[in-house]
Amino acid sequence: MKDWAFYLLTAVGLALFPLAIHPIGGYSGLATEILLLGIGAMGFNLLLGYAGLLSYGQAMFYGVGSYVALLTVSRFFPQVHSIWLALLLAVIFVGLMALVIGIVTVRLYGIYFALLTLAFAQMFYFIVFQWRSLTRGDDGLQGITSPPLTLGPWSLDLTTRLPSLNLGPFGNLNEVTYWYPFAAIVILLILAFVRTLISSQYGEVLAAIRENEERSVFIGFDSKRYRIAAFTLAGALTGLSGALYGLHQTSTAVDTLDVDTSGSFVIFTVVGGVKTLFGPLLGTGIIEYLQNVISGKTDAWRLIEGLIFVAVIAFMPRGLLGSVPRVSEFAYQPRFRRTEPLTEPRRVSEGIILETKGLSRYFGAFAANSKIDFSVRAGELRAVIGPNGAGKTTFFNVLAGLRAASEGQIFFKGQEITRMPGAQRVASGVAKAFQTASIYPDESVFENVRLAALARVQGMFAPEFLRRSGRLGRVDDIAHDALEQLDLRDVAALRAGSLSHGDKKRLDIAVALATQPELLLLDEPVAGMSIEEVQKTDRLIRALAKKMTVLIIEHDMDLIMGISDSITVLHQGKVLAEGTPAEIRANRLVQEAYLGGYAEEARGASAPGASAETTP
């Protein structure tokens, strides 16, 4: 829908809202409260819906926001007669708070993350409760008149009522104070912000991280920084919510920091619909309605709230609004502009591009890789083979940064990268295609590759909250190029999850390729492929090997023998042999390592197209 239409409709809806709820027992004060609380819910939705983080501690941001705002008015700067200062201080303080806490907490996931945020929230509760000289403890702050809204020379007392106009069953307009239009405008701005954020460059990467974090890291996105940014934004929004609510209510108390408050944001957002724009507002509206209107009629209102919550999660996991069928936000129509492949944007290295010294990786007492000395020259196509359990995939994982080395060192282009995080290695030029294709199943094939290209162009983290990635033309070009090289143009618009197994593997390689690596790690690229697919991939790998260094793990001996410049054989975590394909074929130790008569077949196989046999 066109932007202007969207905002117009929303504005009209907001204008009618406080009056429309009258016949069901609502009133404008409730409408204002719903909007102000809804800001916090929208912040929480950023965390849960878009970043995939369940925080059980939002109350600390909400509560601290309200206290900072009210203390600014009553104690810190009572002489300033403008609401903006209180709001500004609240948002900045809470934003910083969220940044610091975010840095510390986002390395954890799932229940661990939830519990850590809960622990921090409890600590802030304790601090606010005990710091009586500042906060009055459990007596809270009351009777703090909100300063007026100032705009240049104009000043508006927000508690002023609108002019009287009787609207029958919809009440009288004069029950609405200027708080409501103010809240409505704020919500509109925040809706605009969130909407922009979601489809911004930042939002796109955040969604990718949520969909497949591992892949996102290994195309070069620093997932931690993205989550910290989300946490900070969510915290700041929640702090704003608390500040506005407190100023509107003219009071605040310690209950704004308790576990129940954190829980209510969860309930609001989940009921309304995570990952939707209006869901949090809807959920807030429903629950607040229950709390304020239904609670006067029955004290079973909390039970009703719980039942709605359970029903929604069990039967409508995307929330009430999320269950409405929607078009994917990333339905991107690829525009094919270039037809010739790009020239090399990366400098081609010479000499030894990758080297390991004494590299080991232990899992407990088991040594998956043991003191491996390994080196590859730039431009080589090196195969790494060995029986199952030899440690090949582990070796690749350690090289790529998926697993940390237990001992030893890794050097890439002369620089030690042993401790370098995975995303940074990708940025330096090491890319990996996974054994089990790791893609974004809900995105189009083109979008999959485009994300990798985006990582290449923007770097590990880019705080582009407002701009779309579409403006970066080079990204599309790189993506097209990768698709071209992997012969995936025909399926570019298809949903990646619907591809055949073989196509998914090629897509995985295309994704790795789009990061424009100098060193490409291919982990069993033809496993499970049909004969034609193997042939296709064979040609493709040869083409790639002309432009970059390729390391390949494979069991398909025909393929390996045919295309490799040299082969490293691993056995039981150690290097068993190294040499040209011919040397390896003749090597007795290698033959013994592979059980049962394999040597004959290795000698007999030569041309690509002969039946490829994979070892058991």
Binding site: I111, Q130, R302, L303
Partner: protein, 299 residues
Amino acid sequence: MSGDTTIDAFLSQLPGTLLDGLIRGLAYVGIALGLTIVFGMLRLVNFAHGAFYLIGAYVGLVVSDRLGLVAGLVVAPIAVAIFAIVIDYALLRRFYDRNPTSQILITFGIALVVQEALRLIFTGTTRSYIVPGWLQTSLNLGFTQYPTYRIVFAIGIVILVCVVWFFIERTNYGLIVRAGIRDRIMVQLLGGNVRQASTVIFALGGAIAGLVGAGASPIYSVDPNTGFNFLVPSFVVIVIGGLGSFWGAVVGGLLVGELQSLTTLISAPASDIVIYVAMALVLLVRPSGLFGESEIIRG
């Protein structure tokens, strides 16, 4: 404020405080045990664990009012197990393989519904149990006069821990369960009924919580908020001990109990917050806890 808060006073109160921490720690062990088993065996984060405790406490209350404490201790875990099985079939089945977030949410919702339903039935009044007369006494232990019931309760927890350990480690059924969770498909191929085993484990975790709820309520009394009040400390315990680890729950529970007890001696207002600080430290420094497996829980 005057007072004899000298080093002597501190040391003289130390044995009593440590005993206290031990008993409270054992209570935490009992409360956390079911939670860690369910997580360790089913990979299910159960925010409804407190609700199991709560149901056990109320069922125990109703039954022991009429038929005595022992009857209450027998009926409560059975009632909770039945409830757990029903919930499992009706709702939780489809959440086993979902992400932890969904699991937290659905179990949190169930806990909310249980709490409010019980509030409507029993009102918000704090209920206490009727304990047989001989248990209402206190034993002279030299350094302190300690309530008999607490000691009996503590012994009961120790027995419970042993029984559960035996079941998991030494019986065939426990073996199937342990294997099944590691590799479902394999066990199914070998003829084991993993579905059934999952339900049994879930019901077991609930029954343990219910039993402890009924057993602990003569000490802590019960009202609708008790479920959530005990839920968070349970998580603190298993985080410190290591999620999914049996011995982690045991050691973690004892540690948290002693920590709280000692804090009350040194600075009582902090006795609540100290467990959150401990949990936060563990999560920051070593999220897998003392005995947990270090899965990929870090970024």
